[in-house]
Symmetry: C2
Subunit: 651 residues, 2 copies
Amino acid sequence: MRTGIATVCLSGTLREKMQACAIAGFDGIEIFEQDLVTSPLSPEDVRKMAADLGLSLDLYQPFRDFDSVPEELLTANLRRADAKFRLMSRLGMDTVLVCSNVGTASIDDDELRAAQLSRLAGLAADHGVKVAYEALAWGKYVNDYEHAHRLVQTVDHPNLGTCLDSFHILSRDWDTAPIESFNADKIFFVQVADAPKLSMDVLSWSRHYRVFPGEGQFELAKFMGHVVRAGYTGPVSLEVFNDVFRQSDVERTAVDAMRSLIWLEEQSAKWLDANPAAGPAGPAAGGAAASRRRYPMELATLPHVAEPAGFNFAEVRAGDTAALETLLGQLGFTSNGRHRTKNVQLWSMGHARVIINEEPAGGASAGTSAPAISALGFDVDSPVIAAARAQQLKAPAVPRKSQANEEIFQGFAAPDSTEIFLCQGNPDGTAVWTREFGDGLDVAAADRAGDPGTVIDHVNLAQPWQHFDEAVLFYTSALALEPQPFAEVASPTGLVRSQVMLTRDRGVRLVLNLAPLIQQEGATPGAAGTAGTGHRPGYQEHIAFAVDDLVAAARAAQARGLDFLRIPENYYEDLDARFALEPEFLATLRELNLLYDRDADGEFLHFYTATVGSVFFEMVERRGAYDGYGAPNAPVRHAVQYDHLHQQSTA
Amino acid sequence: MRTGIATVCLSGTLREKMQACAIAGFDGIEIFEQDLVTSPLSPEDVRKMAADLGLSLDLYQPFRDFDSVPEELLTANLRRADAKFRLMSRLGMDTVLVCSNVGTASIDDDELRAAQLSRLAGLAADHGVKVAYEALAWGKYVNDYEHAHRLVQTVDHPNLGTCLDSFHILSRDWDTAPIESFNADKIFFVQVADAPKLSMDVLSWSRHYRVFPGEGQFELAKFMGHVVRAGYTGPVSLEVFNDVFRQSDVERTAVDAMRSLIWLEEQSAKWLDANPAAGPAGPAAGGAAASRRRYPMELATLPHVAEPAGFNFAEVRAGDTAALETLLGQLGFTSNGRHRTKNVQLWSMGHARVIINEEPAGGASAGTSAPAISALGFDVDSPVIAAARAQQLKAPAVPRKSQANEEIFQGFAAPDSTEIFLCQGNPDGTAVWTREFGDGLDVAAADRAGDPGTVIDHVNLAQPWQHFDEAVLFYTSALALEPQPFAEVASPTGLVRSQVMLTRDRGVRLVLNLAPLIQQEGATPGAAGTAGTGHRPGYQEHIAFAVDDLVAAARAAQARGLDFLRIPENYYEDLDARFALEPEFLATLRELNLLYDRDADGEFLHFYTATVGSVFFEMVERRGAYDGYGAPNAPVRHAVQYDHLHQQSTA
């Protein structure tokens, strides 16, 4: 599959965009006109630069408001087109995107429209240019890709074809199957964009909220499957207008974009394998994959990984580890000593393992950092294959030093810079590497410590606002986690967007939280504030452990002196009003600072510890088939944590 | 008018919210249930705290999903209501908001609904509670305020009335006139919220994008007029769910909120005056204002100000003034010397006056700050009256020291901390205070310097994201500027939202720009970035001067060696493709780095200077009735400025 991207997807100048696209590995780019108009580079400079960078210049875009106009305006439009076609010659480009008319169309007549497009195609032919005509979802008269295609067929000129843009097609819920019947020679270009399903006007949706494939909710693999079956072999190019990408680091966004196409390519191949064409010859001999190989577009696949079975470990990095050690001990964790060569400790309870890493992060001064979640280990079938997949998906590797006889962890950095390690989990939930701790510790004994049923239930990571969508695609593509519909919960400093990423069997639950901007800006008030107190506690992340009997675990922790997050009395009164709980049960919840939720599937009990650095812990018990995270209780948690931080900052 | 606000409008804890409401001067508050549930304050604490702060507790809210349910669920709902009514007794509150059912309604039967509401009213009566029933815009069966009112009439119980919420009514485009016929005794509560007109699902619109009155596009004065005519005298209370306000400084947002009600009160009185009721007795004797005074709700008015006639001056603060002085001199400005007692210079050209202030800003160290726009002076009819109005609108005053015989400027701080001064403009465009400069300078002579037709055309100020809506209301209410529909322009670091604020005669044009977040976060890349270059130039502001002959002004500036913002050649080729300009004219534009725009009303020529500190200048010529700002050229300007800064930062 030839990969492409429109320069409008990225931030920066045309030069920066082109360089970032080349570094990310794109085959070609679309030149968004405004990026050229605002650039000091001459068309000849751009042509040379593209050649030097190994980028083909696949599409000049957009040319707007051409068709369905009176003759006088058509003449002006042809003059405008002539100027742009001459410019394209200087750029060495041969395909231009012409959008269906939005602004100036006044005559709704397909015959006239075809005649006008025919004149444009004739002019284009004089310049050696091909016109890719696209139905915008909000085109005044032409807003359906089949309509655009019919016009192309009517004109029947070698220099006129159509451009298929997944956004304009899927945002309108048009059926994509008819694409298969299109003549591939008449599909001049294919643009792809994903989007979250939003109910808003399609223009605003298109201009602000498009995302890269895998970051939204469109059925892009199916769209691409039909395109491949049509016989199309040209570029598959991203055209994504997104408010955040436009202000994010250009090189990073280009890599995120490339990852989305690599993933889409694999998903498209899978869709074709799963949906063999019912052609006249029936399914091809040799099975589904052979069927896919009948089509001219080559689709590369990635090393296959199954979803991870569970968390192998969670790691917290800290300079001063005393508070962390105290908390874990009070929760019932056992210290399994230090690593034989590294400055890290292992704490475990059942199959939940927490590593305390005392080595300073790259660049930081030793021993001064406040505790923060720094790494997660996932149990996978084959760490090597999973690492190869992640690497092909352009995940940045983070090799860790290891010595003879030590397990080598395959690691890479997630978008929020959390280190992700791929581990060989034992079927019984133990981990081989634990024997590197505590002078030849008995692995099984270490894993039996504490409540034997304990596991890491979920981990909650705060995401920077620039990289939220990137993180969703990262975990989807590299770790086979599935994004769930997102939720929003109230906190004293704003709404927190919460995106759950799951494996199908719930062995891994990862929660990506997008904290309010004001928290991300740290503890200072707005730059231009003239009034106000300006206390803005930073965001907190946590690791949640699931136990079989939360009340028993809480009582034990209480006996060990655990500093529970104190839940207000008002919460229990509201809980009683909502759920009509047994008085004795309610009294237990109240006594132990437990939170409670219930839905049609089951019940959820949980409690939180105090926070050290930016980390706190949660302990949960799932009853029945409860599949949530106690979201109705999240505002209480946020408010109490805010209150604590606020008291600290004003004390 | 009794003023109120729901705690959900604000950030922080319940204690912080209540304190901020009291400081801002609200009469009462609505307790949003979640704020109480998450609070360590007992209901008795809240009651006492409110009494101490002089706040009445006007409404407990929301009670959801009560009506239109089967008997079994109704029993549970009544039990839930009983618990909440008991809680309200402890709070000393007597009114609860009950929203029409969204989630659990399953029986669409008005008779049953009325019977169920009647039972709720009966239970409420036992507790001394009044139920204000509200039709949510997305209520399953009841989503029209008139429907809710009909149910209230059917039940006819003293403890059941309705709550009118402007958002739920105006978001659905319901006619508000029927409110006048409501029995005032049955309107238990009135909530007001404004909103920008967005085409999206009403629930998302409501939960994220509500704004305070005057910050959106709803006809709230008309809504309030009808409410007043109905005879309602209860609280008018803000209920505004807004993603930004929820994370902004609580005290500042409370003041912004209070300002919106003060302004709404005035606007409502004006609407009543302009729309006298056609009652059986006809318009009241004594004119419109007397007609308004017939209604029981008292509406306070504000000191009246006409819109400002123009800019009196713009002030730039700078430590090192050399670059600024050079730029102004090259543009054709004349130095009029220093102020007799202050460390400021006056530069003028025609009626455009720029003050260079060398005194350090409050708190800053002397003489080190880079040039930045620090103050604007506006010509008003009566500075004292305008200042009184601003003060009543809670604008923070910024008195400036002045000595005997010097003009006293009435000043206050805008939300972005720009200082706004109200000046007595002379009808001929001169300013009396200029005689305080240059040892008894001849005022008229100073103002005649340079091109005599020169004026400040517009000023463009960057706004922090937390205070954009606040700024719109501030200039609307305190300075009588009118917000225009906003535009968005592309820049290399993201979309810039641009909000024009105008006087009707165009004497004042102020452009509020909301820069991309990444710019507001300064020159550092995202906190968790693992890759990328991270060059993020800061945002720039400017002052634009209008001249009669831009080509002549540009030639003169060129002769004086002005450092023009260099416009790329690609721009002129695109300009020619779009407008088919005369070759000679195009050559002039190209030679002088002029930008050009044209629309149905006229033409616009302009150029920009280089930037010093965060300030640059623009010179414009308006031809015909052109009323814009060259928005199609803004991306060029942003790209070139970005390129310059980028080159500086990588040099």
